[in-house]
């Protein structure tokens, strides 16, 4: 397994190089001069534009820029953004918040999705199954901003149960609702996956064996059935960690969470590749690492899987 992990980690390098280059290139392809829009309705002075272009190396070919980016990255220097603020410090501030939000969303997704999936799988075709199916599908079909906005108004303003926006440090309690909103899209997938595997495994021979062993129903379901049925759901959720984080843009906007999503969104709008490229690379890295972790986790959860 260790060897497998190392090989996968080594494989990350070309993928990361490819991704960062692709992102660099794509940001370049965006129409519009990043500095043209920085002076409101007025065109910016040439002197200003020239100075900025020189400072950020926009006057050099893309390969050279990419090389500089790599070099700086390796020396741990992310430089400053177009606003002359240290990129590293901005990342350092917003990254932990998004990670917290993403992990909470994953936790919510896992707990609610799996519980719902188990219940509907055990009572397949019953009333509860239908209720769970329909409600998770409604969550799936509602765009995330609708859910977010509705919950903000309902819980934050009308009922005054939560603060409508998340305060600076993004404390745990305040992130619960945003995390739920973020998780709502994938909840349906998780519940469906769990339900399917519960239904499949419920008839399996080892469950039969467990009953024949004289175990209580609770133990048969809670230990023998659940452990096997969790594997597909958990691996799905694992791969979602990365996309939840990059998908947080809208949720972070609604709840004014000072995370990566907002930073990225603004940077994209400003064409500020000094921020876009590191964040996007970071997100890709997280995604890849999460995938790797899931694959390894798979091996832990299912001892039949062997890595070579």
């Amino acid at each position: 397994m260790g060897r497998y992990a190392i090989r996968r980690l080594l494989q990350l390098i070309p993928v990361l190089l490819g991704t960062t280059f692709l992102i660099n290139y794509m940001v370049w392809q965006l129409p519009g001069d990043p500095f043209a829009a920085r002076c409101g309705q007025r065109p910016c002075p040439d002197a200003y534009i020239n100075a900025m272009r020189a400072e950020f190396g926009l006057d050099q070919p893309i390969i050279v820029q990419y090389w500089h980016f790599l070099k700086n990255l390796l020396t741990g220097d992310l430089g400053v953004n177009f606003n002359n603020v240290s990129v590293a410090s901005q990342l350092a501030e917003s990254w932990p918040i998004t990670v917290r939000l993403g992990l909470m969303a994953v936790a919510i997704e896992a707990v609610i999705g799996i519980v719902a999936g188990v219940l509907s799988g055990l009572k397949r075709g019953g009333f509860l199954d239908n209720v769970i199916t329909i409600s998770t599908l409604i969550l799936l079909s509602l765009p995330v901003f609708v859910t977010g906005f509705l919950l903000q108004w309902l819980l934050g303003v009308q009922l005054d149960l939560i603060k409508p926006t998340v305060s600076d440090g993004a404390p745990f309690v305040e992130l619960i609702v945003p995390a739920f909103v973020l998780a709502s899209l994938n909840l349906a997938f998780t519940a469906r996956l769990t339900r399917t595997s519960i239904i499949e495994n419920r008839r399996s021979d080892y469950v039969r064996t467990a009953i024949a062993k004289g175990l209580s129903n609770r133990r048969v379901v809670g230990v023998h059935l659940l452990r096997n049925s969790l594997i597909p759901a958990l691996t799905f959720i694992g791969t979602e960690v990365g996309s939840l984080m990059s998908g947080a843009i809208i949720t972070e906007g609604i709840y004014n969470i000072n995370g990566i999503g907002g930073l990225l969104w603004r940077a994209v709008n400003d064409h500020d590749f000094t921020i876009v490229v590191p964040i996007a690379s970071l997100l890709v890295l997280v995604y890849l690492l999460a995938n790797l972790l899931v694959d390894l986790l798979y091996g832990v959860l299912d001892p039949r899987i062997r890595y070579e």
Binding site: R3, I6, R7, L10, E308
Partner: protein, 339 residues
Amino acid sequence: MATPSEVVLEVRDLVKHFPLTQGILYKRQVGAIKAVDGVSFELRRGETLGVVGESGCGKSTLAKLLMALERPTSGKVLVNGKDITTAKGAELKHMRRNIQMVMQDPYTSLNPRMTVGDIIGEPFEIHSEVVPKGDRRKRVQELLEVVGLNPDHINRYPHQFSGGQRQRIGIARGLALQPEIIICDEPVSALDVSIQAQVMNLLDGLQKEFNLAYIFIAHDLSVVRHISDRVAVMYLGKMVEVGTDNQIYDRPSHPYTQALLSAVPVPDPEGREQRERIILQGDPPSPANPPSGCRFRTRCWKAQDICAEQEPLLEIRAQSGDHPTACHFAEASDVVHVS
């Protein structure tokens, strides 16, 4: 035994090693699963060669090698004198007309999304030169009749048939191209006893009708005996004993063959207390790391030092009588007919 006739299949020193690799960037080969390790035999027209052995002894790999579904590590498989292992493209396709197979599991060997007509007719589609398009349906119906199925069922799907019927469909598919050789890989082991007899009789009848040569692979020794002219016993990728059915069953000389035969339960409760059983201990060793010398020595009650040092060759030995065996201490003894 059938009168000596033309050799249709010849296997020479067939070896198949599945490499075991290890490494981070570059994968080194650190070993090999020696699934088939130097097997040679020949098969004559109209003859049945039974191959028996425990699971993992390389029987199924052997079948795949014969069918050119796997490329051997070394060795040759000559079908009518031409090596199928090196054939490619049109030549290989042409050679396949002569050698076909019937698979073990009648539930998985038929595509559930195709009708019986499509399944049996597929060989004609692939080898379009065999039967003109207009006649194919008729040919398929004839084939259905040959294997004892209702020709009107041509539009049915496999799941609408019972296991025995499905195996007949598989046999009809194998017969479609009128091959000389059919590899039967455990064709009856998934069937109920009452159905098994039907299929065996069918195979028997077809052999006589079309003068087919069978390689009959099975783990059920009684079935193999029933159908085979000659029997080869495999252990860990090697043949340990080859002979006519009587030679093998009445005068087995390799300890493994003897153990295998004695373990077969006889459907006769009389004298079951008296029968002596050779019960082997443990499981066969891993083919990735077979014992040195004689591969059976780790489970053999006759093993001595020489068995670890020197690999016994498959040859006719003084004590074994009339057929080749690969044991230093071969000794014929009837373990089946104990009174």
